[in-house]
Symmetry: C2
Subunit: 189 residues, 2 copies
DNA sequence: GAACAAAACTAACACTTGTTAGTTTAATTT
DNA sequence: AAATTAAACTAACAAGTGTTAGTTTTGTTC
């Protein structure tokens, strides 16, 4: 009964180091040491340092794409879709904060093909999000602000939630969702 | 008439590279090449690679501290102070986006002393911001949400504005301020 | 034009980097 | 017990790293 493959363990360990210091500042010897083995031993399991990064980032990006697709299918209002998206981000943050750090900060250090793939996915995701916002505005459900400003202020908050989430004492996920939705949608006044 | 010292030019060039690839992925040879000189020549002007990073980050941090002090002195309501803070961040973003990237992503690569100094300044800044929010809540001017959630969602939006600001076509600063204040304070509904 | 300072250069250093090749040990299956 | 596979090891590589020392070029001041 293998619970987690050795490769998965390496990726998990590496992702923590990447989160702390960034991909470029972490050496394969750092990763090996964190696992209690020698650097060369890693290469029985992985193709190279870059592969770890690509797996982390692309798998997570696919998860976002999948979450977006599910929400788009729902028969709910644009505003409710935005609420669902906020919850999606929070759920992912809570149990994938390391990969999220890599996705945010180190995507440009993947190989050229993977960078292209990633950027395409990110743009598709943002375009879907933007369309939901536009729909909400034209239905009169959202304020008629520049959609880009709305998109950006929601997304940047959600994307960097991982920085902040475990600095404070990991408050309850449901409370976090409730307050986050309230602040992002209804503002603070 | 020396407009900018050679050292300042190096720092300016380096900051652009740091923004694109992160501090650790940029070599001193990259910086030298960007200036059309050899790596060793840099050392006539700077103490080392880390010094560039520290100057970038600590100078900018001081600018934030200074801006916060000025706002705290003003005889205006907590809500108006928050508006001023939003404008402060936008002003800094518009003409210091490279240093802002370093401050956000690479502060942990400074020397230990500078890291300490930086973290202390950041915590002081956040504490001041938090107190303004708390005051706003107790005056009934702001919604009674968890102050930490409010602080975080405003700050993370402002801190990552630099990523987004020049991706889109550098819209007018005053329009940006107006919409940003509106979205962050009054929400989107 | 001599003297001086600023800023570039060449050459090299000691160390770190990701990775490969070949081998040995440990764990599992037959 | 033999055979097989998984996973570690040692040793080394070629390239890249930040930095130093000493020298030459460039530009300015007397």
């Amino acid at each position: 009964m293998k619970t987690t493959s050795r490769k998965a363990e390496i990726i998990a360990e590496a992702s923590q180091l990447f989160k702390e210091k960034g991909y470029s500042a972490v050496t394969v010897r750092d990763i090996a040491e964190a696992m209690g083995i020698k650097a060369a031993s890693l290469y029985n399991h992985i193709e190279g340092k870059q592969e770890i990064l690509s797996i982390l980032i692309l798998d997570l990006a696919k998860e976002f794409i999948k979450g977006m697709e599910d929400i788009l299918k729902m028969k709910i209002s644009p505003l409710q879709k935005i609420e669902k998206l906020i919850e999606l981000h929070i759920d992912i943050t809570v149990n994938q904060s390391e990969a999220l750090a890599a996705l945010n900060n180190d995507w440009m250090h993947m190989g050229a093909d993977d960078v292209h793939h990633f950027v395409a996915m990110r743009e598709a995701y943002e375009e879907n999000f933007r369309n939901i916002i536009k729909e909400g505005i034209s239905l009169g459900q959202l304020q008629p602000r520049h959609p880009e400003v709305i998109l950006f202020s929601i997304l940047s908050t959600l994307r960097t939630l991982y920085v902040w989430y475990q600095k404070r004492g990991k408050l309850d996920v449901n409370i976090l969702k409730r307050d986050m939705v309230a602040v992002l949608i209804r503002g603070i006044v």
